[in-house]
């Protein structure tokens, strides 16, 4: 579906996307996980055929964006990072006019609009202006809109950023259903739980490059341990001192501003060993490794800053 080799985007001297290779297969959910400025949106805009690559090859649905932009975009659905809804028009009008951009007949667009409003649970708001809708509703409308042309690939740039947990879960549910229907999903996120929930395969991106690639499980298995012991300390304590005291206890220790992360295969045993060394943290937590830990390992930084 998507094939890229050495894909690069430069803005003047600055390289936002630095020669990445991507292959996305039909029906899979593929994610770009990375912190602010990693180059996720720049990549998505190239895949969406609105921003020409500075270098490298890119094929979408077997076509070249430079030559067949309109034909490719006719088969894509795009949920941009920043909403582009018309706040002055009604919810339904936003869908109708968008469908017309794809050359769909008025009758077909009307039928699809009603189905999609139902799908994203906005039927009762159909005649309202978009302006007063909540962030989650707007996002759902943007997703409905992106589906008006029955796309084969859906590009979602941070679909749930800024939404409350409940709104995010509603959206994930809708996206999951789309995937079950065979829509290929390509999404960016800086939420590891989103990536874990939705993606079959993902790349971890940092500073325009891929630092790792695989399924969420593979990545965790490869770059982290089974469990993580988090030690929290009081704000007035110097955490690095404890880091030194515990050195060598486990294979890897991360020192964060407010806590220590101990990577271990057995959190409870490590907890006892910590106590045995005379370290008394204000709180302890044993949890499973997540993509956040993978990211920390690979880049030395946390994902959400």
């Amino acid at each position: 579906m998507i094939h890229a080799r050495g894909l690069t985007k430069r803005f003047g001297e600055f390289t936002a996307v630095d020669g990445i290779d991507v292959d996305v297969l039909r029906g899979e959910a593929f994610g770009f996980l990375g912190p602010n400025g990693a180059g996720k949106s720049s990549t998505m805009r190239m895949i969406g055929c609105v921003s020409p690559p500075s270098a490298g090859t890119l094929r979408i649905l077997g076509m070249d964006p430079a030559a067949d932009g309109p034909a490719i975009r006719a088969r894509l659905g795009v949920v941009p990072q920043q909403d582009t809804l018309d706040l002055e028009l009604t919810v339904r009008e936003n869908l109708l006019i968008y469908g017309r951009y794809f050359g769909l007949s008025r009758a077909l667009v009307r039928e699809r609009a009603d189905e999609l409003l139902d799908f994203v649970q906005l039927t009762d708001r159909a005649k309202d202006k978009v302006e007063p809708l909540s962030g989650g509703m707007k996002r759902r409308l943007t997703i409905a809109r992106s589906l008006i042309n029955d796309p084969e690939i859906l590009l979602l740039d941070e679909p749930t950023t800024g939404l409350d947990p409940q709104a995010r879960h509603t959206l994930w549910d809708r996206l999951f259903r789309l995937k079950q229907r065979g829509v290929t999903l390509v999404l960016t996120t800086h939420y590891m739980d989103e990536a874990e929930q939705l993606c079959d395969r993902l790349v971890v991106m940092d500073k325009g490059r891929f630092v790792a690639e695989g399924s969420p499980r593979e990545l965790i298995a490869r770059y982290s341990t089974r469990e993580v012991l988090e030690l929290r300390f009081r704000a007035d304590e110097d955490i690095s001192v404890y880091g030194e005291k515990l050195a060598g206890l486990v294979e890897r220790i991360e020192v964060l501003p407010d806590r220590l992360l101990l990577y271990t295969d057995n959190g409870d045993r490590t907890t006892e060993e910590v106590h045995a060394r005379g370290v008394r943290p204000a709180g302890t937590l044993v949890r499973r490794s997540t993509l956040e830990d993978v990211f920390l390992r690979l880049t030395g930084r946390t994902l959400v800053d």
Binding site: P70, A71, R100, Y101, R181
Partner: protein, 272 residues
Amino acid sequence: MTTTTARPVQQRPAPGSVRRTAAALEYWLVQYRTVWRGTVVSGVLTPVLFLTAMGVGLGALVDDAGRLGGEYLLFLAPGLMAATAMQTAEFESTYPVMGGIKWIRTYHAMLATPLGVADILLGHLLFVALRVLSVASIYLLVIALFGAAPSWLALAAVPAALLTGMAFSAPIFAFSAGNENDAGFAALERFVIVPLFLFSGTFFPVSQLPDAIEWVAYVTPLWHGVELCRGLVLGTAELGVSVAHVGYLTVCTVVGVAAAYETFRRRLEKTG
């Protein structure tokens, strides 16, 4: 809970460029539906007020002085028609263009679909053309009701006013898309549109101006539009001169469209 057709999808060809441009135009028409009433009211009121106050009221004084060599209302009306075409074009080509890029981001919404920069630009320009066309038509109708359109040639003043409007619209599209924010629009109004409105032969012949400024007036598109419309409405147009006016205005339009395309392309590629 069923939406969208079952997979695998049947492939639909992307719409051709005429349909893409038409779809972009359709957006602006849908948007216009929310404001059309107000624009029709002002479309009628503006000519009625101007022609009454200046054409009839002030005109009586001018005619008494007897230096114009004709009725002031007849002189003024076609000039105002061209100037109003310019103002309508300016209004429709500044804030809405900035909105499409920055505020409402309509252009970006369109770019994610089969529509390309050229379709988006042409669709929007066509909408401005329709607006100018309707404003000019109403204007001519009011002029006729004031008994100030003595010739059937006056009908040709509508397309002439349209061309005048587009000679402003297209370059202003380029200007608007090249501006980071709307601060430049007030300057455009103050330093370009208002001076042109006042000094391009709308209210008095440019021969009244000091020589140096008179030559500036000849270069401005509005003077050509005013002269063209005046000749047509009064039926005094000479073919050669009119063709020259049309030619000049067409060049402004074409150069403006090319510049607008270039600025649109750069700006829309840059801002996500």
